[in-house]
Amino acid sequence: MSGQEIRVKVSQYKIARPGTVLKIFGLGSCVALVLYDPEAGIGGLAHVLLPGPAPLTREGENNSASSYKYADRAVEALLGEMEKQGAEIKKLRAAVIGGANMFLTPDIEEKDMPGRPGIGSRNVEAVKKELERFEVPIFGEDTGGSNGRTITFDPGSGEVLITNYKGDRKVLAPHENGTGRMAVE
């Protein structure tokens, strides 16, 4: 895995081709969405902050860069950009990572609505709902828990390497038929 490394910060999405890897360091309650088209050799990674939906502007549409922090806008934008760069939506496979609840008591996660699921799990649900809407199958998922994750996505192989501060490593890899397998090293 030589070559470049692109970091994807919160509310950003990036696209890469084989030879370049996409990275998120210290993913907590945010969700990372990986999209991969094995045939076109193109991969994308979005770093989602909030479940959304994104608030509308006065014109009825919200296209500001910061609106990509919401799940609905991020998924739509990443899909659109991948298609523009040669991916085919029907061929896309997805992986969903993150959505941890970092703090040991829930008050910070839920300042307004105690009793609702934590923001991490709501982020995961929101991203999965959008994927369902666009009929993109999920080949791998590593979500929830109380630990942060660092992820490295290689658009060459479609593999997603997930590590945490304890040194645990996990790989999500797409099968050719798109169903996926999960390997714990």
Partner: protein, 214 residues
């Protein structure tokens, strides 16, 4: 990064920055005294830094976003709302746990229930002393929540705050200071992040922003 546009983002003047620095200084002075009494060591404080930070830059506020930290967070309720957080790098968290409980966490980044509750108690005492000083200074009520503890990569910890602030803003005013004790062996970071809606009231209470009656 001009891709982030937000009309609710506050522009801070020199006067505002000075006032926020002073507020933090007074709060931290109180807190350092409490910490010093608890562990029997002198505590040194840095000058507070006040900065408007983009949420997307939060994971890097502590330097390497993958470094392992223990964080104790307290939500502020009352007239002024926001968050305060004490963050200790792993080595310092270990030393602190040893000073307070007599037992040391092992090397493998593991905190026992005893150590977590010791850290929570520290957060409680330090947070209360900080907010107490601000209450007296600003004549506003500031009530601390029960502190919560996280132990993980710095970036993942900071994301929690981005989530909380993200619904209302793309940036926030971050007031931070660092402290050290026992000859640099113990060091930590302190953050005060007022909710965007509470910043104005803080500045009004500090009498550097005219009261507005609507």
């Amino acid at each position: 990064m001009d891709e982030f546009k937000n009309d609710r983002m506050l522009e801070l003047s020199e006067l505002h920055i000075d006032a926020l620095q002073e507020i933090c200084n007074i709060g931290m002075g109180n807190t350092a005294t409490a910490l010093s009494q608890m562990i029997g060591k002198q505590i040194d404080l840095s000058i507070p830094r006040v900065k408007v930070s983009l949420l997307s830059d939060f994971p890097d506020l502590l330097g390497d976003s993958e470094s392992v930290m223990a964080a104790i967070h307290t939500r502020i309720w009352g007239d002024i709302q926001g968050n305060i957080m004490f963050i200790f790098p792993w080595e310092s968290a270990r030393i602190l746990c040893k000073m307070l409980t007599g037992t040391e966490p092992d090397d493998e980044f593991h905190l026992s229930d005893l150590h977590v509750s010791a850290l929570r108690e520290i957060g409680n005492i330090l947070g209360s002393s900080y907010l107490g000083a601000l209450e007296r200074l600003l004549s506003k009520s500031l009530l601390p929540s029960v502190p919560s503890v996280a132990f993980d990569m710095a970036g993942a910890i900071m994301e929690t705050f981005m989530v909380q602030l993200g619904e209302d803003a793309d940036a926030a005013v971050v007031i931070r200071t660092t402290f050290s004790g026992d000859g640099e062996t113990l060091n930590g970071h302190f953050f005060l992040i007022p909710d965007p809606g509470s910043l104005k009231m803080m500045l009004q209470a500090a009498r550097v922003l005219a009261d507005e009656h609507e």
